[in-house]
C-alpha cells in the first residue's frame, strides 16, 4: 500500500534534481554535499574553477545527512544523480558493489596526481584492490569541547584537561573531572557527599544519542580500551562481543544511570549534545572537528577544546576521511574529473582551510585551517594532534553497512538503556551481524 509513498518519493526527486540543463555549449556540473557549513566555502572554489575553466559551471546542492543518501540513491536509479558527490565510507562498499562510482585510477595516473600529498591513510581508505574510487577531500577527529566558565567555577584550569586518563573500571582521572564538573540543583558537585543524581543541573559529560558506530559518543573510549570493530577494512568479522566494548559500554551506562554524571540514554532526546552544551546543561561534550565552526559561531560563552582522555591503549579517535566521487552515469566525466581534481588540489584545499570549517586532506590546507582558527582565538590542536596513524582508527568499512548499523544501534542503545546483560545483548547482535556474510 505504501508503495505510493515510495513511488512518489522517486518521482518527486526525479523532478527536483533533474533541473539543470546547460545552455549553449556550457557544461553544468552538479555537485552534492550534506554539510551546510561547507557549501559556501566550496562556492569560493567553484568561482575560481569556473574562471579558470570557461564553459564549465558548478552547481552546488546541499541536503541534510538523512535525506542526502535517499536522494542520491533515487538519483542513481532515475538517472539524475549529480556528476560529482561527496562520499562517505559507510556507503562506499554498497556504491562499489553497484557500480555507481567512476573508477578514477587511470585518470590519476594520466594526470600524475600525487596521492602522497594527502595525509597518510586518507587516499588509502578510498581504494580497493589498487583501484581508486574517490579523491580525498577532508578528514575529522574527535576532541572534548568544554565550557570555560564551568571549568573555572569548578576550580580547574585548561591545562587540567590536557592529560586525562581513562579506564573502563573506575573511569580514571577523566571520571574524577566529569564528577567534579557535574552539579546538582542544590549546587552540590558530583564528587561531594549529598549529591542528588535525580536533580542534576549541569552534567559533566554529555554525548549525542548513541548509534552503532559511536563516532563522537563512545568509539574513542572503546578503541582506547583495545576494541576493534572489525577484523580489517572490508572485513567480514565484527567484534562487538569483545570484552573491551562490553566493559566500555557498561561503564558508560553506569556513568549515567548509577552515577548521574551524564544524561542517561533514556533521557537523551533527539537533540544533539551540542544543543545541550549550548543550553548550559553540559560542561563537556565530545564532538567532531566538523562541528568547530558551529560552536564558534553559535556559542554565547567561552569554550575550549581538550584532547580525548588516554585509555589503556593510548588516545584513539576515529579518523574519518571524506572523498569526492564521480557518478558512473555522468554525461560529463572529463569535466567532472577536472572539478574533482581541483577540489583535491592545493589551491582549493587552502581556500577551504582558510575558511576554518573542516580540516582539508592536504597538510598545507590544515596549516591554513589552524591559522584561521588561531586568528579567531581558537586552539584546535586537540583535533590535529590526533591525526596520526598511531592515535586513530578507521571507520569500519564492510558490506551490508546500512543493515549492520541498524542492528548495532539498537544493541548499543539496549545496553545503555540497561535493557539486559550487556555481554549477552552485544553477543546476540554480533552473531546476527556476522551471520550476514
Amino acid at each position: 500500500m505504501k508503495t505510493y509513498i515510495l513511488a512518489g518519493l522517486i518521482a518527486s526527486t526525479a523532478l527536483t534534481c533533474g533541473a539543470s540543463m546547460a545552455s549553449a555549449g556550457d557544461v553544468t556540473l552538479n555537485y552534492w554535499m550534506w554539510d551546510a557549513n561547507q557549501a559556501p566555502v566550496y562556492q569560493q572554489c567553484a568561482a575560481k574553477f569556473e574562471a579558470a575553466n570557461p564553459g564549465i559551471k558548478i552547481k552546488i546542492t546541499q541536503d541534510s545527512w538523512d535525506n542526502y543518501w535517499t536522494t542520491l540513491t533515487t538519483g542513481f536509479v532515475s538517472g539524475n544523480a549529480p556528476d560529482v558527490f561527496v562520499n562517505h565510507l559507510s556507503r562506499f562498499p554498497e556504491f562499489l558493489e553497484n557500480g555507481v562510482m567512476e573508477d578514477i585510477t587511470d585518470r590519476i595516473a594520466k594526470d600524475k596526481v600525487d596521492m602522497k600529498a594527502y595525509l597518510s591513510g586518507l587516499a588509502e581508505s578510498w581504494a580497493k584492490d589498487d583501484h581508486q574510487w574517490g579523491l580525498p577531500k577532508d578528514w575529522d577527529t574527535i576532541a572534548i569541547v568544554y565550557n570555560k566558565d564551568m571549568l573555572a567555577a569548578a576550580g580547574l584550569k585548561d591545562s587540567d584537561l590536557a592529560n586525562l586518563d581513562w579506564n573502563a573500571k573506575d573511569g580514571g582521572s577523566f571520571e574524577k573531572v566529569v564528577a567534579h564538573m557535574t552539579v546538582d540543583q542544590n549546587g552540590k558537585r558530583g564528587d561531594e557527599p549529598g549529591f542528588d543524581k535525580s536533580k542534576v543541573a549541569v552534567y559533566g559529560w554529555v554525548s549525542n544519542p548513541a548509534d552503532g558506530y559511536g563516532q563522537n559518543q563512545w568509539s574513542f573510549f572503546a578503541a582506547s580500551n583495545g576494541f576493534k570493530a572489525i577484523d580489517k577494512p572490508w572485513g567480514s568479522k565484527y567484534a562487538y562481543d569483545s570484552p573491551a566494548l562490553v566493559d566500555t559500554l557498561t561503564w558508560l551506562r553506569d556513568l549515567g544511570i548509577k552515577k548521574g554524571f551524564t544524561i542517561s540514554q533514556e533521557n537523551i532526546g533527539s537533540l544533539n549534545a551540542s544543543a545541550i552544551f549550548s543550553a548550559g546543561k553540559a560542561a563537556m561534550v565530545p564532538d567532531g572537528s566538523w562541528m568547530i565552526s558551529t560552536y564558534r559561531d553559535t556559542s554565547k560563552f567561552g569554550f575550549g577544546f581538550a584532547p580525548l582522555p588516554k585509555g589503556p591503549e593510548g588516545r584513539k579517535s576515529m579518523f574519518n576521511g571524506l572523498a569526492d566521487s564521480i557518478w558512473s552515469g555522468s554525461k560529463h566525466k572529463d569535466e567532472a574529473w577536472k572539478w574533482v581534481k581541483y577540489v583535491g588540489s592545493s589551491e582549493c584545499q587552502t581556500i577551504v582551510g582558510e575558511a576554518g570549517v573542516v580540516f582539508p586532506a592536504r597538510p598545507e590546507g590544515d596549516k591554513a585551517a589552524e591559522a584561521a582558527h588561531k586568528a579567531k582565538g581558537l586552539d584546535v590542536s586537540a583535533f590535529t594532534l590526533l591525526a596520526t596513524p598511531e592515535s586513530t582508527f578507521p571507520f569500519p568499512i564492510s558490506d551490508h553497512a546500512s543493515e549492520i548499523s541498524t542492528i548495532l544501534k539498537s544493541a548499543v542503545q539496549n545496553v545503555l538503556l540497561n535493557k539486559g546483560e550487556p555481554a549477552k545483548i552485544l553477543k546476540d547482535a554480533n552473531a546476527q551481524v556476522n551471520g550476514m556474510f
Binding site: M1, P209, Q265, E266, S270
Partner: protein, 282 residues
Amino acid sequence: MGFLFVAPAFVGFLVFYLYPTLRAVEISLTDWNLLRAPKFIGLANYARLLGDATFWHSAWVTLTYVLYNIPIQTVLGLLLAVLSDRLARSVALRAVIIAPYLISNVVAALIWMLMLDPILGLTNAFLDTIGIARQSFLASPDQAMISVAAISTWRHTGLTALLFYAGLQAIPRHLYEAAKLEGASEWVMFRRITLPLLRPVLAFVLVTSLIGSFQVFDVIAVATAGGPADSTRVILWYIYENAFQFHKMGYASALSVVLFVVLILITLLQMRLLKADQSDLD
C-alpha cells in the same frame, strides 16, 4: 457523460493507486536493490517474512500504536462532537477543534519533539515547576510509543470530531424533542438516539482512521526514527528502511503487499460488523 465526471478521480486512481499496487506485487516477487536489474525469485520474500523476527516485532509495535490511538481518538472525537452539538453550536469552537489537523504531520512532530525533550523541553520545565518528576517521553522505549500515539491523537481528534459533528446534523431534531418530552436524560438520548443513528458515520471514521493508524509514518520518521531501541519501529518504518536504507525493494514491496491485504481484511470485517451500508434512519 457520467464517465467524464468521474474521469479525473478515475485516472488518478489508475495512475497513483492501481498501477503502483500492481507494480508492488510484481516487485515483491523479485530481488531488487534499485541499482541493478530485478531478479525474479518467486515467493521467497514472503517466505522470508514469516521467519523475520523484526517484521513480527514491527507488526506488534504497530498494533500497540493502533490500540493506543484509535479508542482514545474516537471517544474524544465523539465527545467533542456531541458536546459542541448539544451545548454550543459555535463555528469558532469548531475551528479551534480542527486547528491541529491543519498543521502538517511533520511540523506537529517537530514541535512536539522539541516540547517533549527530556532535558530542554518545555513540557518537562512545566512538570518541574508543578513538582512532578521529569518524563523521558520520546527518548525512553517505555514511553516513546505512547508519546507518538498522543501526538497523532492530538492532531487527528479534531478531524474525527468534525466528521461526527457532520453526522450529527443528519439526525432529525424532533427525535431529541420527543425524547425530552418523555423525560429522557442526555445520556439516555445519547445511547438510544445519537449512537445508533450515527453508525454509518462511525463506520466511516473507524475504517479510515484505522487504515491511517496502521500506516503511521511521518511522526515516527521525524520524532523517533523507529527508536529508541526499536520501540517505535512500526511496519511502515520497517518498509521504508528496507526500501531506502537497505535497498531491498523486493522485500519492502512484499511487506507492503502483506500490509495491504491485512488492511483489506480488517476493513471488510469492520464493514460487516458495523453494517456500514445501512442506516437506521429510514
